[in-house]
Subunit: 249 residues, 2 copies
């Protein structure tokens, strides 16, 4: 049965356990004019030179994993408080970094509102690019797998958490909110039913009395709403459950 866990754990001798570097990689998403974008960094050195990579860095022994993720987010974007931050999971396949043993903890961060410029970051080095573009090319390390998992997580969290509103600024129109759901779930939602289901209950959309200016195509100006309190704990919408699609098989 091999060496016992307790035997290993009770020792202080570093030679008893294999050392790893622990890093934190962050999938930083933003929603801008109907397009989901992602902060990627062009690798300037081997390995994977020239490929896109997720921003990331080493965890320090003095900080928690969440703190490390926040620090990394701030270093790359200048943003202190993301709309949404959650751990995605750990990635530790042997050889995932050809240079050494690295286990990385992946995070998902969502910026509120449109991208404010690449504040705090060298634009030639880090760039918000459409997700569709990024997934079309191979990424560095196992970042493609992390990104796939992140996007799956975004889709799932959209009907479990208040993630959708996190993509928007302090005020927004019903159409903007609907665009988030439509882009991420890749569906089209009935405008009338969408509006009704959100206004049917209190706590989702708080009226501001203001109206947005219409787009270039004209149209009636839309009401501006603020985030209600219920986004903190839930989503007003459920995706048509995956098993319903399964029925078609």
């Amino acid at each position: 049965m091999g060496r016992r866990r307790t035997g290993l754990r009770s020792s202080y001798d570093p030679s008893d356990y294999p050392p790893f570097a622990v890093t934190v990689d962050v999938v930083i998403l933003a929603f801008d004019e109907g397009v989901l974008r992602l902060l990627v960094i062009r690798r300037g050195a081997a390995p994977f030179k020239g490929r896109w990579a997720l921003p990331g860095g080493f965890k320090l022994p003095t900080e928690s994993l969440d703190e490390a993720a926040r620090r990394e987010l701030f270093e790359e974007t200048g943003v202190e408080a993301p709309g949404f931050l959650r751990q995605l999971g750990a990635y530790g396949d042997p050889g995932r970094d050809p240079r050494m043993n690295v286990v990385t903890i992946a995070y998902l961060a969502v910026l509120s509102g449109p991208i404010v410029a690449a504040a705090g970051s060298d634009a030639a080095h880090a760039e918000f690019r459409p997700v569709a573009d990024v997934v079309a090319k191979p990424l560095a390390f196992d970042h493609r797998r992390i990104l796939d998992d992140a996007l799956e997580c975004v889709r799932d969290d959209l009907d479990r958490t208040g993630l959708a509103a996190s993509f928007l600024g302090p005020t927004f129109t019903v159409a903007e909110l609907r665009a988030v759901y439509e882009a991420i779930w890749d569906v089209s939602l009935d405008q009338a039913n969408f509006r009704r289901s959100l206004l049917a209950e209190d706590g989702w959309l708080e009226p501001t009395g203001q109206t947005a200016s219409p787009g270039p195509a004209g149209g009636k100006p839309a009401e501006l709403f603020a985030r209600g309190k219920r986004w903190a704990t839930a989503s007003p919408l459920r995706r048509r459950s995956p098993r319903e699609e399964g029925k078609l098989l």
Copy 2:
């Protein structure tokens, strides 16, 4: 803005990054006669001597995290193929292990069917105990937090994945399956509606032609079913969504 990630990553010098021990801890659950049980280990040495802890061990550089979790599961239970195995997340708060820098990756494993005896494990050392008992006492390290997260994950996965059937053996009755949902969600489900919703669609319950012998109280013998294919991807039941409860506030 501090040291740049790429600068650190391009180096091979181990002194450039803080070394960590990486461990894998596994929450091993089983369902037996209506009671959810958990494998815990009594710590025989400091720190946290005498407290319950989750089974776990060091990750090896030659194995993936999933493989490490499977290895740990096998070492503790003798079980090679759990009904369900998934990563819960990483835990790396400073000082979570007072002896050294440890980041642990937590896993959730579910055994199929009732506990088969503490196979492969020293019974005085490792023990399946009711979850309700374990959470009533303080655990070692941050294992209480890991366990809380695991139980939350189980509740959530019950309506997203086929987790429920993973708790049962190759054949089971509708009542047994319902007991899993009821115990984990702490609800009572209408027997008639539960049965109907499962039999309404193909792929959940495959008839075996056999019947179970009634319990000590007698009653009509129940049909025995086998797991259908749909459990692999989804759950037939959705928990009454948390936001419905929220309405009552």
